[in-house]
Structures are given as C-alpha cells and as structure tokens.
C-alpha cells in the first residue's frame, strides 16, 4: 500500500508527470551504473516508461551493462547540438519495451557541456517518460554538477566502507546546497552480511546514523552482478534468481511509493550460520 504522505511529497517533485532522479556517490566503483541499469529495468517491468541517461561522459558504461552498446547511432551530443531529433538518439531495450537509453556523448563534450544543456535535455525527455534515471560520474566536479542539474531527486549510493561514506556525506552536502534536488534517499550497496555479523563491516544502522539520509534500500554483495554485467543482462530482468536482483525490484517498488519492508539481510541456514543467527538475536 502506498503511503499517502509519501505520495503527496513525490507528486510535488514531478514535472510533466515525470520524476527525474540522479544516482550519485562521489566515490567511484560503488555500483552506481549497475544500480541505474537495474532500477531502469525494474521500473520498466513495473509498467513505467523509463529512460536511463548516461551522464558519465568521461567513462561511459551504462550501454554495456544494458547490452545496448552495438545499437547506439546518435548520442546526447547530437541531441544537444541540434543535429538529430530526440527520438533518433534514444535506444530501446531489447527485452523491456518500456526502457530506453540516452547514450553519453563524446568525452570531448566535457569541454563545453554546462548545466543548462543538461536541464534542457531532461526537460525534452520529461514529455515522454514517467521516470528519468541519470547516472552521474564519480567525483564532485563539473561532470557531477551537470548530471545533477536536471534532477529533482537523488539516490545516494554508498558502500559500508569508510571512504565511500565520507564521500557520500560530501555529496549529500553539495546536493542540499545545490537547490534543484528536493529529495535525497540512500541505497547501501555491496553489503557483506558475514562481515557485518563479525563486526568487521559497518552495519546498516551505523551508516544511517552517520549520514542521516532516509534509507531507500539495501543490496548485498552478489557474484551474480558480475556475471550479469558480462552478459549485458541486468539481474532485474529476472532471468536468474539472486539476492541482488530481488533487492533491485524492492527498491523500484519503494520508488513508486509502495511500502516494502527492508528485510534483514538474508541468512543462509547451515549450523555455523544458525549459530550466527542466534548470536544476532536482538535482546535489547
């Protein structure tokens, strides 16, 4: 059941009935692009017309993770410079008719691209989509500022690691001072339950306590993610059952306003694991 308070808040964030969400992290390698690809697929599967925008002009990879690298003809560069129509650059996903990719332009675009260009691109896209997911580059420099310019919401992606949390905090500060982003939510990615249990990795509560950004979801470390990247078939397509794939689906449902409880990270059932479970029983 959607909660009415959340729905009202989300409604206020829409332009032309479209929600534009930037995924950012500050630090590289935390799983932004993988999350963008999977949430794009998951939202499309829920019936939303979704566009994923590769705003990482320097190191583009969203096309690879979606398996669309060989279908790109035009890019955001041609759209922004006016040498092709919006529809000519958009690449339709092979299996999900509701999902489109707006490919990143040439790395040389970084020399002249500014936040206004990005805003106008997102405004053009907002006419035809329910959701726009923008994959921001790592860092907090111009590329990041461009990626954020067209967004009204942000998903902050963090790993439970000291450097990732510090960088995410910096990004959260920049997002709140930047102005256009009104809702920031947190996805804690690549959590290793075994290490958390042994107190060798910060727990979900630790990270939430420090960052104080509302939690949208938790994804555990999953080898299937690498296999799915090899194949260019995001786990959210549901071809293979996997913990990360299920987590992506849950996050997409929370994005559309459903209240889906965030489960305690899955616990396998061997003797050692059951002992671990017993030791993890909450007593206070």
């Amino acid at each position: 059941m959607p909660s009415s308070g959340l729905i009202a808040h989300i409604d206020a964030l829409k332009t032309n009935n479209c929600r534009s969400i930037v995924l950012c992290s500050g630090k590289g390698g935390v799983g932004k692009t993988t999350l963008t690809a999977n949430l794009g697929v998951a939202l499309a599967k829920l019936g939303h017309k979704t566009c994923v925008v590769d705003a990482d002009y320097g190191l583009r990879n969203l096309d690879l993770l979606l398996g669309l690298e060989s279908r790109i003809v035009f890019t955001a560069q041609e759209v922004i410079s006016g040498s092709c129509r919006l529809g000519q650059a958009l690449v339709k996903h092979k299996h999900e008719a509701n999902l489109m990719l707006m490919p990143a332009g040439n790395p040389r675009m970084m020399d002249w691209l500014n936040p206004e260009h990005m805003q106008s691109l997102i405004t053009m896209l907002a006419d035809g989509f329910d959701f726009i997911l923008i994959d921001a580059p790592a860092g907090v420099e111009d590329g990041f500022k461009n990626a954020v310019a067209g967004a009204s919401e942000a998903i902050l992606v963090v790993n439970p690691e000291i450097s990732s949390v510090r960088d995410a905090d910096r990004v959260a500060g920049l997002l709140s001072s930047q102005g256009s982003v009104d809702l920031i939510q947190l996805v804690i990615n690549r959590v290793r339950p075994r290490m958390v249990e042994k107190l060798d990795m910060m727990s979900i509560e630790d990270v939430l306590d420090i960052l104080a950004v509302p939690l949208l979801g938790v994804v555990q470390e999953d080898e299937q993610v690498i296999i799915s990247s090899n194949l260019g078939e995001p786990l959210a397509l549901g071809k293979y059952k996997s913990p990360a794939g299920a987590a992506y689906g849950n996050i997409a449902r929370r994005i559309q306003g459903e209240e889906v409880p965030i489960p305690d990270i899955d616990k396998p059932a061997g003797f050692i694991d059951r002992l671990g479970d017993f030791l993890s029983t909450r007593i206070i």
């Binding site: 510090r166 107190l199 420090i210 030791l279 007593i283």
Partner: protein, 90 residues
C-alpha cells in the same frame, strides 16, 4: 543490542574494525561538514573570548569551542565558564 554485541561487550571486545570505522568517520565528518581546521577553530575561540571578555570575566583555562554533528546539521558549541560579570563603565 544483539547477543553477539553483548558477549563482545562483556569480554571487552569493543575495538572491532567496524567500530573504529564509525568513530573515525564521525570525527572527520564534523570537520568536513564545517570546512574548519582545528587551527581556525582555536583562532575563532580566542576572538570570541576577546569580545565576550568586554562584558564578562571568563575562566580562560576552562573554555572550549567544539563542532557537534547531529542529523545533517553541524553546530558550533562554545563553553565559556564565567568568573563574574563586569560592571559596565558608562
């Protein structure tokens, strides 16, 4: 608290690597968020004391100026123990 955490606490195993990550982060973020170095903080403390000393006699040894972080906001907290109120000369 979980049973594991209770056992850890009972047997004095509180310096886990997750714990030190948390406490190191809290420390560094208070300064990151405010963009203030400890040296600037001390300079500010001295200048604030100079102003306040016009009105109050302060205990210089007990005064401190610290950054405290709660939720997403950081506060500058000054603790300036007063010896006595100066009579204003008119």
């Amino acid at each position: 608290m979980t049973i594991r955490e209770l056992l850890n606490r009972l047997f004095g195993n509180t310096n886990t690597s997750a714990n030190s990550a948390s406490s190191r982060l809290r420390m560094v973020l208070a300064h990151d968020r405010s963009d203030l170095s400890p040296a600037m903080l001390d300079q500010m403390r001295l200048e604030i004391m100079e102003v306040v000393s016009k009105y109050l006699e302060l205990d210089h040894t007990g005064s401190e100026l610290t950054l405290e972080t709660e939720e997403r906001s950081t506060a500058l907290v000054a603790n300036l123990p007063i010896r006595r109120v100066r009579k204003l000369v008119r």
